[in-house]
């Protein structure tokens, strides 16, 4: 047989977070806990299909007027408008002034990718692949790949996590922004920073915005946890809305995976805020071209569920309630874990567990301690020390707390 053109294709390493889950699945130990992948779990450790989602799916299934026809390239109009409204607020000046645009995307990842592809083609000149893109250190590991694959050649990090004080390195962040070349793109986590769970305070956001405005830096928000972080949609969108009120043009990649629990339906939205209608229209027309060669038009099921929910006052209220249920359980697990660690007298300080927000917590465990947790205690977490609070339940809190205590005291 002739040599294959693929003979030289190397085996790529598996994506870490999914490998973790795969290893967890194969583990036969009854005590095992999965604190890896970022999906919500109930106190029984089960996935949770939101009650409002079940209700709306039933409505959709019973509606014989619906079919499976193609959506428009930019997506379901009712979804797009409502999704952007959720991010920007009902009374957003940008919406009133008709200078926003929306692109329904395949999850938050898809929204990031469309935005990145557009920026590479049209921002800071045409096809300026040299425009620096700044990603927080650390960040969701896929951010880097998205911008690399979109063609950007100069991806940099900005200071974010201060490991020593286990909090935000604001000064480092601001310094990086001062030093960044003008027109650089900054990926900002709108709330519930992944993986650290550490967000700037409103005052700190104001400082960030001031520097970005002065240095002509472009804000590209990643909003994957609106509502899920604090339990309040408005509170979690404060930073994005502040930037809009300060007159910025910006992108906001939204995901409805977590706050609607629609993970596998791939529901996302890229919100574009521009100076005026005309600019936004031209931007959308070019984004349409990008969408057409990536996925042609987006999947309809998830968008229908979200649109139906957001458009109905009653369903919207139910949804907010469901979201608060999830956020509250996470907050409870945070306080329970912290109090156990403090009772055990585990070396170190543990207030960061409750001060951090969202699904994730950067525990501060080092790679050796993480390895101990996995191999000896069958508790699966990322090498960075990131844990998914949703993996904690009233049943496993004690075991996890004791195990962390062991890891910290036995392993340095």
């Amino acid at each position: 047989m002739a040599a294959s053109i693929f003979t030289a294709v190397p085996r790529a390493p598996p994506v870490a977070v999914f490998k973790l889950t795969a290893d967890f699945r194969e583990d036969g130990d009854s005590r095992k806990v999965n604190l890896g992948v970022g999906a919500y779990r109930t106190d029984e450790g089960k996935p949770w299909v939101l009650p409002v989602v079940k209700k709306v799916e039933q409505m959709i299934a019973n509606d014989n007027s619906l079919n499976h026809e193609y959506l428009p390239i930019l997506g379901l109009p009712e979804f797009r408008a409502n999704a952007s409204r959720i991010a920007l607020g009902d009374d957003s000046p940008a919406i009133k002034e008709n200078r926003i645009g929306s692109v329904q995307s395949l999850g938050g990842t898809g929204a990031l990718r469309i935005g990145a592809e557009f920026l590479r083609r049209w921002y800071n000149g045409n096809n300026n692949t040299a425009t620096p893109v700044y990603i927080s250190a650390p960040s969701w590991e896929n951010h880097n790949s998205v911008f690399v694959d979109a063609g950007f050649k100069d991806i940099r990090t900005y200071h974010y996590w201060d490991a020593a004080k286990r909090g935000l390195d604001l000064q480092g962040l601001l310094n990086d922004m001062e030093q960044a070349p003008e027109f650089s793109i900054f990926i900002l986590h709108a709330c519930a920073h992944n993986p650290t769970g550490t967000d700037p305070t409103p005052d700190q956001w104001k400082q960030i915005a001031a520097v970005m405005k002065r240095r002509f830096l472009f804000p590209f928000f990643d909003s994957a946890y609106q509502g899920f972080a604090s339990g309040s949609l408005d509170k979690d969108a404060w930073a994005v809305r502040y930037f809009v009120s300060e007159g910025f043009e910006l992108f906001c990649a939204q995901s409805f995976s977590k706050n609607f629990g629609l993970y596998n339906e791939r529901v996302g939205n890229l919100t574009v805020v521009g100076k005026d209608t005309d600019n936004v229209q031209r931007v959308l027309s070019q984004m349409e071209k990008i969408v057409r060669t990536t996925w042609s038009n987006p999947p309809s099921q998830g968008a229908r569920i979200v649109a139906t929910t957001l458009a109905s006052p009653q369903l919207f209220a139910e949804w907010k309630d469901n979201v608060k249920t999830m956020a509250d359980r996470v907050l409870l697990m945070r306080s329970e874990l912290r109090s156990r660690l403090e009772s055990l007298g585990t070396p170190g300080t543990w207030n960061h567990i409750t001060e951090q927000i969202g699904m994730f917590s950067f525990t501060g465990l080092n790679p050796k301690q993480v390895e101990y947790m996995i191999k000896e205690k069958h508790i699966y977490l990322m090498a960075s020390g990131r844990i998914n609070m949703c993996g904690l339940t009233t049943k496993n809190l004690d075991y996890v707390a004791k195990s962390i205590h062991e890891a910290v005291t036995k392993i340095q």
Binding site: S4, V9, R11, V15, H68, Y70, R113, Y263, R266, W295
Partner: protein, 401 residues
């Protein structure tokens, strides 16, 4: 001032423009022959019964909404590979293939295009038939490939320019990539006969070309899924390790659910694993993992014997209606007294028909009869019904006599 002041307005999509204009037209006799979606004999979208049944089965299982793996739903990808390759395929049985779920046909093509850009070191050129689906060119271009073409459609006969194609293909530099439409060529409806496919395979093999099949109409073209996949299967049997993109938009009517698959036939299962690992690396920064709904419906149908049987009947039903509309259009044209040879309308296959109408004639059809189609004279036969085929024939005759 804005960051976007210099951003040009993108040119309007020619096909969408047709539908927009159609919507604005108030003529009660208007016909939309631009649409690339199946319509029943009442001109309405058709949700397959097997799809409705599959949806009910799925709903009753009350499954969760957890992320799919990057490569998609395993039940779906395996069933897709089997559907395309055939259950007796050596390539399928030996496991020397990788199939990942893609966002319908477009997404699957794009995964393949990106994969070629990253791993096909021999060259950048992708050869498309002339003409091809309008979106092929920008897909490959955006992936970083270069486009070339080979002769395919003969406008003088409205059929395959076989000698032109063979001539051009024989001259394609070795180790180039050639894209072939597996069946129901879009936009012409002109497919090679089996003997012609055999000659194409021999030439392609001799020139050491990498073959990329686009199969968007399996079952929808002839009504027979095995017949429509014949070329793909023949090439593989000849030792040509192809790339393949599949879509379930038309043959299962799952358009907006975006169900599709991308397959690479490899030397062996080990190579397939390596290729799979790299496909995942490409997919993750595009959209992380694919949407479940459409794939689950398709998998349920393919893997449930009763539903699969029903699907085969329904897809044949759709194909048969299209074929019957072709026949009726030709007989109506004869009845109108047209002296032209309209045989190509029944020779061609699939959703689309290259009528041979010139732009000026297309213009007249639109302006005088409110019949909408793309400027190249392509009609979507799916938009023709027993209720309007007479009107269509009359109009075509008026502008061509």
């Amino acid at each position: 001032s804005s960051w976007w002041s210099h951003v040009e307005m993108g040119p309007p999509d020619p096909i969408l423009g047709v539908t927009e204009a159609f919507k604005r037209d108030t003529n009660s006799k208007k016909m939309n022959l631009g649409v690339g979606a199946y319509r029943d004999d009442n001109g309405k979208p058709y949700v397959l019964n097997c799809v409705r049944k599959a949806e009910a089965v799925i709903a009753s299982k009350k499954m969760d909404k957890e992320y799919l793996p990057i490569g998609g739903l395993a039940d779906f990808t395996r069933a897709s590979a089997e559907l395309a390759l055939g259950e007796n395929s050596e390539a399928f049985k030996s496991g020397r293939y990788v199939t990942v779920q893609g966002i319908s046909g477009t997404g699957s093509l794009r995964i393949g295009a990106n994969f070629l850009q990253r791993f096909f070191k021999a060259g950048r050129d992708v050869y498309l038939p002339k003409p091809s689906w309008g979106n092929h060119t920008p897909i490959f271009r955006d992936a970083g490939m270069q486009l070339q073409s080979y002769r395919y459609y003969d406008p003088r006969t409205c059929s395959l320019d076989f000698s032109g194609a063979m001539d051009d293909i024989a001259r394609i530099p070795e180790k180039s990539i050639i894209l072939l439409h597996a069946c129901a060529h879009n936009p012409t409806g002109v497919d090679p006969r089996q003997e012609q496919w055999k000659e194409l395979a021999a030439t392609v093999k001799k020139r050491n070309l990498l073959v990329y099949f686009d199969m968007a109409y399996q079952g929808f073209a002839s009504g027979d899924i095995n017949r429509d996949a014949w070329a793909v299967r023949y090439f593989i049997e000849q030792g040509i390790n192809v790339l393949l993109s599949q879509s379930y938009a038309k043959n299962m009517g799952l358009y907006g659910e975006r169900a599709g698959a991308f397959t690479v036939i490899c030397s062996d299962a080990e190579e397939a694993k390596r290729v799979e690992s790299q496909l995942k690396i490409l997919i993750r920064p595009m959209y992380s993992n694919p949407p479940l709904n459409g794939a689950r419906i398709a998998a349920t149908i393919l893997n449930t014997p009763d539903l699969r049987k029903e699907w085969l009947v329904e897809v044949k039903g759709m194909a048969d209606r299209i074929i019957s509309m072709r026949t009726q259009l030709v007989s109506n044209l004869k009845k109108e007294g047209s002296s032209h040879n309209w045989q190509h309308i029944t020779d061609q296959i699939g959703m689309f028909c290259f009528t041979g109408l010139k732009p000026e004639q297309v213009d007249r059809l639109t302006k005088e009869f409110s019949i909408y189609m793309t400027k190249d004279g392509r009609i979507s036969v799916a938009g023709v019904t027993s209720g309007n085929v007479g009107y269509l024939a009359h109009a075509i005759h008026q502008v061509t006599k």
